[in-house]
């Protein structure tokens, strides 16, 4: 990887490490016909420079909405409250034109569906260079040169020629590479990735993930990866956040969390993951019941109705978040 060529700024090692993103008590609500519904409830976590954090959870756990609220891309009926600081600057509730100076420059995002996330009517060159023209004030020629370098960096063969093509002339995996190169053009501090490999062939998934990891390391970009794929998290992430019903159930370093899951939900999730390296007997484990419809988030622990270890207080008292500095868990029954 031509890291010296890619990075205009000093690479990760030289840059002062520290907290890039501070999220405190983030709540995302949607106005619906049946009243306000919270998709994300009091989520707090920090992101350090160069760190890759994975957010895992089932569909409807609010994991994508966290990213959308950070990027200011919530649907019109959605609103976010709490505090999100990017390098000390509060970005929640920022006006769109202020946010537009950060989006694509300091923080950028890639999406789940590479087939539709690129504009089908415009050449890839236009879609790449416009980012540099907007944020870096580059001229057309300079932006073009840099865009071709970036396509090279995501291993698109013959980039100087391919950049003239339209999105439909690329395969799904190639399109996601284009998306990644587009997101990293301005060497953002943070890359948000919303299930970046879900829509891709299994054989391509690993390549894309490796690419993301390598490039992020080269550019010193922190990554927040949202996924429901525990395998992806295990192979890629430094830290994991387990989300359920819009709340953080458990978080910690990937290795220790997978080796020693504390929260009953995390245990259930891990037990439900098929493994190739173990003899399986009979059916795959499942967690009984259904994930909550967001509106039912009541007093206690959101996982209580499906929990094997539930006690009386779990229904009425919200568990405090235990935090030992390295890991957190929100449960009455287990302790760190």
């Amino acid at each position: 990887m031509a890291s010296t060529k890619l990075a205009e700024r000093p690479a990760a090692g030289v840059r002062p490490s520290g907290t890039i993103l501070e999220i405190k008590d983030l709540t995302v609500e949607f106005r619906t016909d049946s009243g306000k519904v919270a998709a994300v409830n009091g989520v707090s976590f920090d992101l350090k420079a160069g760190e890759i954090v994975g957010i895992v959870g089932e569909s409807g756990s609010g994991k994508s909405q966290i990213l959308m609220s950070l990027m200011g891309l919530l649907a019109k009926n959605g609103s976010a409250s709490g505090s999100v600081k990017l390098r000390g600057q509060e970005i929640l509730g920022m006006k769109d034109d202020e946010l537009d100076k950060l989006r694509g420059a300091s923080m950028s995002m890639i999406f789940q569906d590479p087939m539709t996330s690129l504009n089908p009517f415009l050449r890839v060159s236009t879609q790449l260079t416009e980012v540099l023209v907007k944020h870096r004030g580059m001229g057309k020629g300079e932006a073009m040169k840099r865009s071709i370098e970036m396509l090279d960096a995501v291993s698109i063969p013959d980039a100087a020629k391919r950049i003239r093509l339209y999105p439909h002339e690329f395969s799904g995996g190639m399109r996601q590479r284009v998306m990644i190169s587009m997101a990293l053009l301005c060497q953002p501090s943070i890359l948000f990735a919303d299930e970046p490999t879900t829509a891709l062939d299994v054989t391509v998934q690993a390549q894309i993930l490796d690419l993301m990891k390598d490039l992020a390391a080269d550019l010193g970009t922190s990554v927040v990866l949202v996924t429901h794929d525990l395998g992806v998290v295990a192979s890629l992430c430094d830290r994991v956040i387990v989300l359920y019903g819009g709340r953080i159930m458990e978080s910690g370093p990937a290795e220790t969390l997978f080796a020693d899951p504390k929260h009953p939900y995390t245990r259930g999730l891990l037990a439900s993951t098929p493994r190739l390296d173990e003899q399986t007997h009979g059916e795959l484990h499942t967690i009984p019941g259904q994930p909550p419809a967001v509106a039912t988030a009541a007093l206690g622990c959101p996982f209580e109705p499906r929990c094997e270890f539930r006690e009386a207080r779990c229904k009425t008292v919200r568990p405090i978040i235990q935090d030992n500095g390295e890991r957190t868990v929100a449960c009455h029954v287990v302790s760190l």
Partner: protein
């Protein structure tokens, strides 16, 4: 593709108009059978239908659409090309105005979806579609012609004063239709994933809308504009009657009720050719906008 289409149009309308009861000379004063027979013979109406059809096709191939049965001193071509420039001028102006204003209003309403602005534009739009031109035309004449006295009530001398009200009356319902169509497809386009990507890139509202949302959002409008233009430049009977404009719109109706066989055929073929050309232009524009169409 367009040649067989045109042939089908000619064949179907040729036989349909002849199946209709009555003939071109029935409205005349009662003529003696001998005179009728001579008339029919002069216009080849006494021949069997297939022979007449063959004769007509042969003429069409040589761009000869025959004499009009009703306006006997004129050929069909003369009638059409005398009226068409007038209808064309008014129609093109109306189309230019209604597509510009309609696309602008529709995009505006889509950007302000479900706001007071949106509802205002759409209510006016619905009214524009709902009130027929035979109601609006006299109202405009009443207001601008009689009450305010700004413009002539009707008539035609080629001056711009005579064109304003007909163009206005033609434009309003089209503005309404185009703005509603544009609003719908723009709302869909604004919700599409690639527009979300554009927002995530921090491009700002103006660039996001003009470069990323508008292209896809205007395709349905573009498809509508083709046939709509063909329809509008061939004149509106109602508008041309109301404002006493010597366009070709009236021939479409008059020819049919007069059983003016050749004029009916002439107008139908003319309209058909315009529709085909308009759709061809739209297809070409489509391929300019959508690279997927281009490479197929």
């Amino acid at each position: 593709m367009s040649i067989p289409t045109l042939f089908a149009i000619i064949a179907i309308s040729f036989f349909m108009i002849r199946v209709a009861p009555g003939g071109p000379f029935d409205a005349n004063r009662k003529a003696t059978p001998e005179v009728m027979a001579n008339l029919n013979k002069a216009y080849h109406l006494d021949e069997p239908l297939p022979e007449q059809f063959g004769r007509y096709l042969w003429g069409v191939l040589h761009l000869d659409f025959g004499p009009s049965f009703k306006y006997r001193d004129y050929t069909v071509s003369e009638l059409i090309f005398r009226g068409f420039p007038i209808s064309l001028e008014i129609g093109l102006w109306a189309m230019l105005i209604s597509s510009t204003v309609g696309i602008f209003l529709g995009t505006f309403a889509a950007l302000k979806q479900n706001s007071a602005w949106d509802y205002t534009v759409m209510t006016i739009g619905m009214t524009g579609i709902a009130i027929p031109t035979f109601v609006t035309a006299p109202i405009y004449q009443l207001i601008f012609g009689l009450a305010l006295g700004w413009l002539p009530v009707a008539g035609w001398d080629g001056g711009w004063q005579h064109k304003v009200l007909p163009i206005l009356a033609l434009s309003i319902p089209n503005i309404a239709a185009i703005s509603r169509l544009t609003r719908g497809s723009m709302i869909e386009s604004l919700r599409s994933n690639h527009v979300r990507t554009a927002r995530a890139k921090g491009l700002g509202v103006r660039l996001t809308v003009t470069r990323h949302a508008l292209l896809g959002g205007l395709l349905p409008t573009l498809a509508y504009l083709g046939p709509a233009t063909a329809g509008i430049v061939t004149g509106s009977v109602v508008i041309e009657r109301a404002f006493a404009i010597p366009g070709i719109g009236r021939y479409f109706v008059e020819a049919a009720s007069n059983r003016d066989y050749t004029l009916v055929m002439g107008t139908v073929i003319f309209y058909g050719v315009l529709i085909i050309i308009a759709n061809l232009i739209v297809d070409l524009l489509y391929s300019l906008v959508d690279p997927k169409v281009r490479y197929e």
